[in-house]
Homo-oligomer: 322 residues x 2
């Protein structure tokens, strides 16, 4: 059994390879070539455990995550866990991967793949709302997907910004990084806007003119009580692109305007369907676009399998004697 | 993170230490000092995955099992998997144990603990119906719990018996091991009878006189459509002892006679309650007794924690770099 920790995973694979794989996964989702049971939640005393199983045609696996909000106070990652990869025929666990690294990379790559498909090739500026681990990873992938010259960051907790900006500067070369005082300013200065907050209220002012012609990547809101985008965005959009059909119920960014009739079901389309069948992409990306992701176990198993195969090929990882 | 494989686990701990711990677990169950969510099943194309989470007051964990019946044809274990042990405060996985070894040992120890409590000290013969991995483990623990002189084995598939008997003779010293032609003969010759089959029909003839004065340990039937014991056993009993309240629904050995009114709810008692509060044990074990186990995640987490602590103490296992 092969154990792959954070270092191993980062040695195995490039960001573009992960985005290529995520792109294939959007197609796989449309072709329905997988079995993905419902995500399983166990909640106990402010601790959450998630089990995310998924079967492909030649492998299966489970992402096991712990979400412990109180870790923040201890300067430990809130999300931790493991990805188990299993032999399709015998059930044997063939590999275990660090779950927080996998989650960070695949979520970053999902956002980056969104950028590849719903933004013009010549965008130069990215605005990020939410200066956390996931925000950082979104920026890494955004800067691979497009030739970004400037990053604009906002976070409600300003004291986080100097360290965050320092880290971005160190890890992403050749890009200017600045912070702004509010999200209105951020909207004005950005071509692409990425949100990675855990907000329950929209993080932007509800003004139509601020949203027009921009490309939005929504990552944060993953529960029905969470919302990052105001009604104004929806009023200037034709369509919202999503990663999985479950997004309609899972995120307040969709369920809330759907319930109020502001957003219609036929305005929501999976990114896979758009990639496969949309003929008007050139025109669409010139307007306002929004990709809203909630994530799914299918991304994890596909990316984990790729990382495992690369690790075997390159002789990376710790071999555990069974 | 410490990985403990089969060899490591067997080096860490003795069978009696595991039975002592299981005994404590029966008490823990009565005192309700744990949180055990429902066992989670995922079924797909004749493959079953189980997630069995459980929280104690200072640790939590998940037993992850794969049940692949087709492995039998490939001479691979049908049940495989891993036990994850996690830090209570941070969620971090601190240890991974081989799940099939843990399952085999804790299930054997649950049966053995039953023998400690519902059989007279001077029993000399054990009959086993079901010559598989679990049958073998039940015998190992039975021979620790009592001074057994003779083992009598029956299996519907006679061709399995020579190898099984050979294995028992090699691993359990100083005990005579024989096979019989049918379960009636087995009942006549045994003081204790253990069943570890996956039968859907009772494996014994429905004759009262065969059951009187004997002690039964039922391990096999763990689904409502499975049954190992005929009505005759129930008709000569005062009470059935169970490991968990869920047994009433989970095993056909109880749900079937309960539905038909043959067995009354007040005839069913947890072994923990019996250990703690029964004053008439001496008298009871002279009559016919039955302990029916279906297993639960609480056993796994308690035994896994003990094994982990012993392994740390003795410097056993493979340390994985995170």
């Amino acid at each position: 059994m092969l154990y792959l920790n954070e270092k191993d995973i980062n040695k195995c694979i490039t960001l573009n390879e992960i985005m290529d794989e995520i792109e294939k996964t959007f197609i796989l989702y449309e072709k329905n070539k997988f079995y993905m049971p419902d995500r399983i939640h166990v909640d106990y005393k402010n601790k959450t455990i998630l089990y995310m199983p998924c079967f492909l045609e030649n492998i299966f696996g489970t992402k096991f995550l712990t979400v412990f909000p109180e870790n923040r106070k201890k300067s430990r990652p809130v999300i931790d866990g493991l990805m188990l990869l299993n032999d399709y025929d015998t059930g044997e666990t063939i590999s275990i991967l660090d779950g927080k690294t996998l989650t960070a990379l695949r979520t970053g790559a999902v956002g980056g793949t969104g950028i590849r498909h719903i933004t013009p090739k010549d965008v130069k500026t990215v605005g990020l709302v939410g200066a956390g681990v996931q925000g950082f990873n979104q920026l890494r992938f955004a800067c691979e997907a497009r030739d970004i010259e400037k990053i604009i960051v906002f976070d409600l907790f300003k004291e986080k910004l100097p360290d965050f900006i320092q880290k971005v500067k160190e890890q992403i070369s050749g890009v200017e990084v600045v912070s702004v005082e509010n999200t209105e300013e951020l909207l004005k200065e950005s071509d692409i806007v990425i949100t990675t907050t855990t907000s329950n209220e929209p993080v932007f002012p509800n003004k139509k003119e601020l949203f027009k012609g921009k490309n939005f990547i929504g990552i944060g809101s993953y529960k029905p009580n969470m919302r990052e985008y105001p009604d104004a965005l929806i009023s200037v959009l034709n369509k919202v692109y999503i990663d999985t059909e479950f997004a309609k119920e899972e995120t307040g960014d969709l369920s809330n305007p759907l319930e109020r009739g502001l957003l219609k079901d036929n305005q929501i389309e999976t990114l896979g369907n758009y990639i496969l069948y949309e003929k008007n992409k050139e025109e669409i990306i010139k307007g306002t676009t929004w990709f809203k992701s909630v994530g799914m176990a299918l991304f994890d198993i596909v990316v984990a399998q790729l990382i495992y195969n690369k690790a075997k090929e390159k002789g990376i990882g710790q071999e555990i004697e069974l």
